[in-house]
Amino acid sequence: MLQSKVAARVVGPLATRGYASVASSAPVVSTANGIKIAAVDGAPDSPLASISLVIKAGSRFETAETAGAAHYLKAFGFRNTQDRTSFRTIREAELNGATLTAEATRENITYRVQCFKEAVPYFVQVLAEVATATKFAEHEFRDVAKVVALESLSARSDPATLALGGVHQAAFRSGLGNSLYAPAASPVATGDAVRQYAQGALTGGRVAVVATGVDADTLAKLVGESGLAELPGAAAAETAGMAAAFTGGAQQVYESASPVAHYALAFGCEPRSAHALGSLLGTQRRLKWSGGVSALSRLAAAEGFRTEAFSFAYSDAGLVGVLVSAPSAQIKGAVEKVAATIQKDVAGAAPDAIQRAAAATAVDVADVLATQKGQLRALGAIALGQSAAALEAVDAAALASAAKTVFKSKPVAAAVGLSQTTAYVDTLGF
């Protein structure tokens, strides 16, 4: 009896917290120079807080002269600043028991800190210094370049990463099509080049500070006292021609003599329905000894290849699709069968499949939002106005009609394998 009461008290607030409630309970405040601030108090008993500084400077904002700069900028996170050496930042973070993370997506560069609530003022200061006062010294650039080169090389040698980058490139060409990883011969070759890229992006309208476990007013006050208050407050002027446009029918081929070939097939969709459509493809394993009952997972289990659904939601575009892996000789047949199944069984999915996908999406979203990291991501997206639409609940009827149009449209593809044996997107019958 007592146990169940305790359980109810602990589980209650968690169970009622959802994507929508995070969004509605976190009004976005703007500072004088346009920095967006949002925070949720989170669990009041928890001593932990987390803060993210999000800058709209991801790889989609790179031009031909700055290809790879976003990757370098991410790697420069928490390096020497005018006021603090990188050594000191790290040692003080260790003394505070904090975790420092830098992360790059196609849209944003995020510097994240997880720490105790008492240390929040200190770490807001650190994050402000990282954004506004990093030195980008030449000798540090040489170190950073080694890290960047390793990350790029391991991304290029991972076929799944390569294929997913390939479908972005085929679908969006420049902008969202830019690689997340710096190319081997990047035009960015000095610390100064990275500094210029960062300064170009650092205007109030392109920066958000979001936090969990902190009061929004306190956070706004701390940001106002930090170096971030001196950022120029220009409007979020994005370079012209940045709007993402999906172009179907293109295919990238990356030659690889590996015995296993990979093929990513992707469709353009609304960002708000991307995740649900990914669940509708239904390749995620949710029960231990079963591949699932969706058409694609049954096909893969019967034929002996692997399929994995993916979905990406950006501020103005979405991408949903499936990554097929099969022995090199069988990849063409596998892809043709997958394409036929998508056209027949996924585009015209039965009501129960739609219901399953909607439920799976709801679970995934709640699962992500149960973590501080997921909450910060959602808050950052809301604050910068990037994917607030994706946070709404999935409507089964809307999902069914979206599936009908999306999975009959012209897809893009990326193949990692031999050009002689792989499939080609224009022969798949879309």
Partner: protein
């Protein structure tokens, strides 16, 4: 020791006496006649200065090596540069000292953190 140095440096009267002598001192020490700069004479064989030299830009490093080679050759052959090729006062700026100071501060900081004592609150 550093405190004394600071007092002496900031002492107006002392500076007024030393200023005129400084130029003569540099002239007599003769390194400018070999085309060197003052920072070329810093003792290289310490970890701090090695690190500082490593942080020089490529161009500064090349010029430094060239100056040292010239000076070495001149010293071997007991010669001096012709007067118009001596290092000019405006070229004799501190290109290495700021980096040495930066690295020294980093080493001091590292030592301070490594010998930190925990205080129970």
């Amino acid at each position: 020791m550093e405190a004394i140095a600071r007092v002496v440096q900031n002492n107006g009267a002392f500076r007024a006496i030393c200023r005129p002598l400084a130029g003569t001192w540099v002239k007599l020490s003769g390194y400018r006649r070999l085309g060197l700069r003052y920072d070329d004479l810093l003792r290289e064989e310490t970890p701090i200065i090695q690190e500082a030299i490593g942080r020089l830009s490529r161009q500064e490093t090349d010029l430094r090596v060239y100056r040292q080679k010239c000076a070495f050759q001149l010293s071997l052959s007991h010669q001096e540069l012709p007067r118009d090729q001596w290092t000019k006062a405006e070229d004799d700026y501190k290109y290495l000292q700021p980096l040495v100071d930066e690295v020294a501060a980093e080493h001091a900081e590292r030592d301070a953190f490594n010998s930190m004592a925990a205080v129970r609150k």
